[in-house]
């Protein structure tokens, strides 16, 4: 990650490659963005806009899919049948959200097979938070409260992203995810009202997930290479630091309800700013994990590769069956 100078978003034009498209096409694209309307898949768009979207949307989809794993690992051990059902439904939703996002990405002309290959070959990025381990049940609470909480803060503005299919996928995802954060909060609440051991488990999980969840908003604005252009394109609506601040301001009162603390001695209300101050995050660690050197990068990718490889014969068989039976009557014509 290179450190670039802070930029004001609107100094960047919506169309970067002036050589692309006809004058008319570029003008139409610019006016749609300027009017805060939606670009649809078959509209002309600058190739950099398309690339940015494919990258961001597929990273988002990969994050949902890889993000299933730390929680799926606890489905078999959930400590009550109610929690087991909730967790299963939540991990299932994540598969669903990955699918919505892959499907939106495919409208830009990049197939899921290509995206999946990039993922399992280690060429694609996904949210680095999922490379941290979830060793205790309280991690299910902390992931729901902090990780999904951060995701929601990130995602709500994306419901107005300028690319129609992305915005529509996000609307559906945000609607469904509203229970994810709550169930996490309630897991922690239950633990904090429980035995000493349960309380310690909860505090320990929050200690481990707090900083990584704040890093989910990406590097500080001054160092964020893609932010300015994404904001000019109305893909991104708020800067990384703005969203991070919003998240911290939201968390502190919730932590008070839980009776849980954050491992940040600098966390304090700043009357003047009207916001909570918080300490510097360890961006070297962030860069390390992002570069593939986090605690679980290798095992997460291996699990995805295994699922894909183990399933190959099934996908082939289903495709072969479809070819063999093509032309036979299909049940239920649309009505």
């Amino acid at each position: 990650m290179t450190v670039s100078e802070p930029r004001t978003p609107h100094a960047v034009s919506a169309v970067t490659d002036a050589g692309e498209g006809t004058d008319e096409e570029r003008a139409l694209f610019e006016s749609v963005i300027a009017d805060d309307k939606r670009i649809e898949p078959r509209d002309w768009m600058p190739s950099a806009y398309r690339r940015t979207l494919v990258r961001q949307m597929s990273q988002h989809a990969h994050s949902e899919i890889i993000g299933m794993q730390p929680e799926a690992n606890w489905i078999t051990r959930a400590p009550s049948l109610k929690r087991k059902a909730i967790l299963m439904a939540k991990v299932q939703d994540e598969a669903g959200h990955g699918l919505y996002l892959y499907s939106a990405t495919e409208t830009l002309g990049t197939g899921r097979d290509v995206l999946n290959d990039q993922l399992i070959q280690g060429k694609a990025r996904y949210s680095s938070i999922f490379n941290y381990p979830a060793p205790t049940w309280a991690d299910m609470g902390a992931i729901g409260w902090l990780v999904d909480g951060a995701a929601i803060v990130n995602q709500v503005p994306l419901c107005r992203a300028s690319f129609g299919p992305y915005a529509r996928a996000m609307v559906r995802i945000c609607k469904e995810e509203s229970f994810h954060q709550r169930q996490g909060f309630e897991i922690l609440l239950e633990l904090m009202q429980g035995t000493q051991a349960q309380q310690e488990m909860a505090q320990d999980a929050v200690n481990r997930w707090f900083a990584p969840s704040l890093m989910m908003f990406g590097p500080p604005d001054a160092e964020s290479t893609n932010s300015a252009q994404s904001m000019a394109w109305n893909i991104k609506r708020f800067s990384n630091d703005e969203l991070r601040q919003r998240f911290v301001d939201m968390l502190v009162p919730q932590a008070e309800v839980l009776g849980i603390t954050f491992p940040d001695p600098e966390l304090a209300w700043n009357e003047e700013r009207g916001h909570y101050d918080f300490g510097e995050l360890d961006w070297d660690e962030f860069a390390e994990v992002l570069a593939g050197r986090g605690p679980c990068n290798a095992q997460r990718l291996q699990r995805r590769r295994d699922a894909h490889n183990d399933g190959a014969w099934v996908r082939e068989a289903a495709a072969a069956y479809a070819r063999k039976t093509a032309g036979r009557a299909v049940e239920g014509a649309a009505a």
Binding site: L99, N116, N309, A312, W313, E316, A322
Partner: protein, 111 residues
Amino acid sequence: MAKAENSKFENRATEAAGHETWPLWEVFIRSARGLSHVHAGSLHAPDATMAVRNARDLYTRRMEGVSVWVVPSAEVTASDPDAKGAYFESAQGKEYRHASYYTKSEGVKHL
């Protein structure tokens, strides 16, 4: 459980991994009786029978639908976005097609 039998296949599966892609389907959901089917998104499935089931599993988990359509994405014919002018200009400027154009009858009941 038939481990020896399976292990033979494991190698073949690895070799062939990832080369079979199921086609893409567009999914339309009727959210309630009396309403039209509305486009919900897309998914992959090997054939129509599985596509409609996958659509049920993916897009109606929260009682969003009472009926599902699936259409192969490749079978959708769309208007040409470059011909937007030719297609949609004609409807512009023909306000007399809308009731709001007729202002003199305002205030007359049941009209």
